[in-house]
Point group: C2
Chain length 461, copies 2
């Protein structure tokens, strides 16, 4: 029996204990956004620290300006590729509580369409996925008495609130975090039978724009027809951001975007993405976005412009005939490799200035600026992950894109010069960030097994 | 000494008492919108009833589905034109309280640029203007022992919340309310030296439109590029409502609008409206609205489209990458005579449907539908009012329009077949509906004197 097979066997025979640890962790309401849960965040960090210490890691909580970071190192056999595992112990707020079928911090094991599932806040994101690779590390530890490779673990507590303290922490601990590759499980599979590696992420620039007109709220009877209405002006300008073919009209918006490679295009085409089902599940039927692109390009490889929030004037019941003095919108551009986020923001500001009346004052606030990112598809680490997933699932993983952003991946690239393997086991129906978040037990088990195999592949190099 | 002069002299020598009654009325916080003030509304109604009873009126509170109506009748000499005085005893909420320089329901007499003024919620709107004509009625009563004409008084308590119960009340009491003309003081002067009669009012149609896209809120990373964003769609459609020359693009919007008469155009031109000062006072410099019209046409005689409120998605601090499931706007059209409000609403709905993607669901809620209204400028009642004002001020009043609506004027026309004389004494800086509402004592006195003169003119017919 190979060492990997022994670790797999060990995992299977100790599944109950792995699940118990996962569920104990879920019981700690480590909601990073809510100050009342600060002590719970620390408890959740301590839980992970103790778990890593029990596997022989030198593990400690490290303070930041916010919630602490768990940092643990294990020399393993003293040779082989150095792996940096990243995850987060914080979770999204559980509200609205009334929509949960069971209390969010009392994990429930229930039957679902794929068999048993665990329902709780953090079931998958990211405590579930981290528990999965912690179980893999433990299986190795209890099988061979050490780690198969030198391993560093970094588990932060502020991913759900923007990881503001992580980049400074990484920059200040470059030597301790030195590694050859980052391993992250915070993404999804293609479907429950098809594993996936995520190799591209969209960047994000997020801007708030406030348009101020008159110096005070006005009566629309007295002033209507003469006075600039900031909601009229803001909607008119925002309404011009896209043409009727879904193209975004900010000047230079599409500059330097490369089309996806023919290989990727072929692979994506072969995925058989069911756009009708994808949209149908959310009550829609007609895609927006660029009409001359495929659905997966629109989701993974093309930039977007979405207004994420807007407000102004009277928002209560009934009517009020006010011309308000200001109106505000939040909007974000998802960006792809080639686009320069800083330039996009400047061009957007210029676009807005050119599209509002001269009397309007515009104020911009920037809430995020990250570029699109591509992960090398020809690396030995990605090859090892492909092999591990292929063995576990009996089919090759697909290389997918993600329409979202994982800013920490950019941080590791910038601060440590490291690429990441994004090997995640979530499913589209996991209700991440929503009530009744769940993780299928099957995903958890095969995910842990894939991580065991990945370690075996890398150790054998 | 004529009877009118005797009444004027009486008013002057009893001014302190008239002011005391006005201020006592202002001390009652009759905020119709706030249920906690329901008893105060009734007290304010009772105050007016008692005041009318003291002048020999048969006066009673009449119940409605909301706050009571004060209805009072006096046969006067049993001949002459029958006058229906209308006013309202309710006031707007006083909030935000911290912006008041003195408590809103403790009227303060302070010095202002036009001499003494009374600062209080309701100082002018409408307790102040009603107190003014109540003082005129009392001057006549105490001078000649009766009213100079048959008079009916109707004072409602729900004007600030839409007068929802007034039209049914008027319709149910047509015989008691029978008259030859309605007299209303709820409008303004041209400036403190120039009296005005308002002879046109804009109508209003007020619509809320909700655009629903996906069946739930979506993550803009996962769905952006494919899923319809309701804020994008709503702003795009609303942004198309007007062209860059200020014309409103709802089909048929300008149908059947008559240009103002050359006489009116000349008179308005002679007013020397200072558009620069009008806009400058509110921090603006460039008029919106139709560019090929004069400022007073845009304010009084041309229709508008103002978005009064808008909301959707994330409105908190920082960023949230949500594609919400819905977005809502409230908007209103100010309408002028000739426009059919019902048709405008239907055309607006059709415009919106034609300008949103097929996947968008639109729901409309109507909060008001009133047509623009013109008052006959050749009536004997208006002539009497012009004469009264001319004598009091030593200059002829100007015939002005109002950009706002006074729905009750339409109610009286529809239910009773009566035109109204809109003779008001407010000034632009009265802070109506805002903190530190005031009424200049000079306006109050000359307003009361003008009402005394108007009664004298009409009684002499």
């Amino acid at each position: 029996m190979s060492r990997t097979d022994a670790a797999l066997t060990h995992f299977e025979s100790h599944l109950d204990a792995a699940m118990a640890r996962w569920m104990d962790w879920l019981r700690i309401p480590s909601v990073s956004a809510q100050p009342a849960h600060a002590a719970d965040c620390r408890r959740a960090a301590e839980f992970a620290r103790a778990e890593l210490a029990a596997m022989g890691f030198a593990a400690a909580l490290r303070e930041t300006a916010g919630h602490p970071v768990v940092l643990a190192t294990h020399p393993g056999p003293g040779r082989g590729p150095r792996l940096l595992y990243y995850g987060h112990y914080d979770v999204q707020p559980a509200e609205p509580l009334e929509l949960w079928t069971s209390p969010p911090f009392e994990p429930a094991v229930v039957e679902g369409r794929n068999g048993k599932r665990v329902v709780a806040r953090g079931a998958v994101d990211d405590k579930g996925q981290v528990s999965m690779w912690l179980a893999a590390l433990r299986a190795w530890h209890e099988t061979i008495g050490t780690m198969p490779c030198p391993i560093t673990v970094l588990i932060e507590g502020e991913e759900e609130v923007g990881s503001l303290n992580l980049a400074p922490f990484v920059a200040a601990h470059r030597e301790e975090l030195a590694a050859d590759i980052v391993v992250v499980s915070d993404t999804g599979m293609w479907d429950i039978d098809t594993p996936a590696l995520t190799t591209s992420l969209r960047g994000l620039c997020y801007v708030e724009v406030k348009l101020t007109a008159a110096s005070r709220d006005l009566h629309s009877g007295v002033y209507g027809g003469e006075a600039l209405n900031p909601i009229n002006a803001l909607t008119a300008a925002l309404g011009r951001l896209r043409d009727d073919k879904g193209r975004i009209l900010v000047p230079g918006f599409y500059d330097n975007i490369r089309d996806i490679s023919p290989r990727k295009a072929n692979q994506w085409a072969s995925l058989g993405f069911d756009e009708r089902a994808f949209l149908g599940e959310i009550g829609l039927s007609i895609p927006v976005g660029e009409q001359d692109r495929t659905p997966l390009e629109r989701l993974w490889a093309r930039p977007t412009c979405d207004i994420n929030g807007i407000w102004g004037g009277y928002m209560g019941p009934g009517s009020k005939t006010v011309i308000p003095s200001e109106a505000v919108a939040k909007l974000s551009f998802r960006l792809v490799p080639g686009q320069d986020p800083a330039r996009i923001v400047e061009n957007f500001k210029a676009f807005m200035r050119a599209n509002v009346p001269a009397d309007a004052r515009l104020d911009f606030t920037l809430f995020g600026l990250g570029e699109g990112l591509e992960i090398a598809t020809d690396s030995r680490f990605l090859a090892a992950a492909e092999k591990a997933l292929g063995r576990e699932y009996g089919r090759n993983p697909v290389l997918i894109g993600s329409g979202g952003s994982i800013p920490v991946v950019e941080t590791f690239r910038k601060e440590l010069g490291l690429d990441s393997v994004l090997m995640g086991f979530g499913l589209d129906d996991d209700q991440v960030h929503s009530p009744n978040e769940k993780f299928d037990l099957r995903c958890f088990c095969k995910g842990a097994r894939s991580h065991i195999r990945l370690l075996g592949e890398l150790a054998a190099e």
